[in-house]
Symmetry: C2
Subunit: 129 residues, 2 copies
DNA sequence: CTTGCATATACCTATAAAGGTATATTCCTT
DNA sequence: AAGGAATATACCTTTATAGGTATATGCAAG
């Protein structure tokens, strides 16, 4: 994963929002949909792009796929992710994303430690698809 | 100049090398040619791209055009340029560029404070085009 | 005012990326 | 086993970018 490759991943607004959100912890695809307000295909493809370049990792959890920043990060990736978080602080779009994420967390954190593991299997992952 | 726009400027290897070099001070096009070993058109076009997005500024000096990082930089630009310099430290390509630049500086600093202003007009700007 | 040099631009081609629609895959539930 | 939900992929179209060749512009020296 070269430096240029990192920047190529960063040069799309949707991917930036995704990476910014992941800075606060893992998320499943359906929650990305809800927070970003973008269609599933779009998000799925950007996540695939990021994964193919090593900027995110994923794991399967029942019906859902949960994405996170890679456990091991290169010096360059670490530096740039930190820079992104820093820059995102003042941007209204990123702030709103974080706010929407916080609301979702309230809804789910009581029931489960991870975003998409409802206590009972009856509970849907994303209440408002 | 949005954050995404900055990353779009950063996602090309030649532009990265240009910006890295400018971190050490202004340079004219012909010195970019010499240091980067790339054709004039390529460099000129990347510089135009960077200028059109506000990542560099230029001024004319006799026959030459000298580029520099903008005097006023946004928070985002400042942060990302710093991050780039940091990441470039360990990369062999960037290091070689800096070394070549240093050689040129030796050659020119004795004669003139800026890269492309020979003491006498007879002196060519770039000895080995 | 013409020649030469440094730089920029126009134009073309190839490649890559983004976004959309439709469909496939996987896993759970019944 | 079948249906439904979450996610991924195939395929298409549009747009952007990169790089090349050829040419134009601006300036300086004579």
């Amino acid at each position: 994963m070269s430096l240029v490759e990192i920047y190529q991943c960063l040069c799309d607004p949707t991917r930036l929002r995704i990476l910014h959100l992941l800075g606060q912890g893992e998320l499943c695809v359906c929650h990305f949909q809800e927070i970003l307000g973008e269609p599933q295909v779009k998000i799925s493809k950007h996540l695939a792009y990021l994964r193919s370049h090593g900027l995110v990792e994923s794991r399967k959890e029942a019906n859902w796929v949960i994405y996170r920043l890679p456990a091991k990060r290169s010096r360059e990736l670490t530096a740039n992710l930190a820079c992104l978080q820093d820059c995102a602080q003042e941007d209204p779009v990123f702030r709103k994303d974080a706010a929407r994420r916080a609301k979702l967390s309230d809804k789910f954190s009581a029931e489960s430690p991870i975003c998409c593991a409802p206590k009972t299997k009856k509970t849907a992952c994303c209440p408002t698809p």
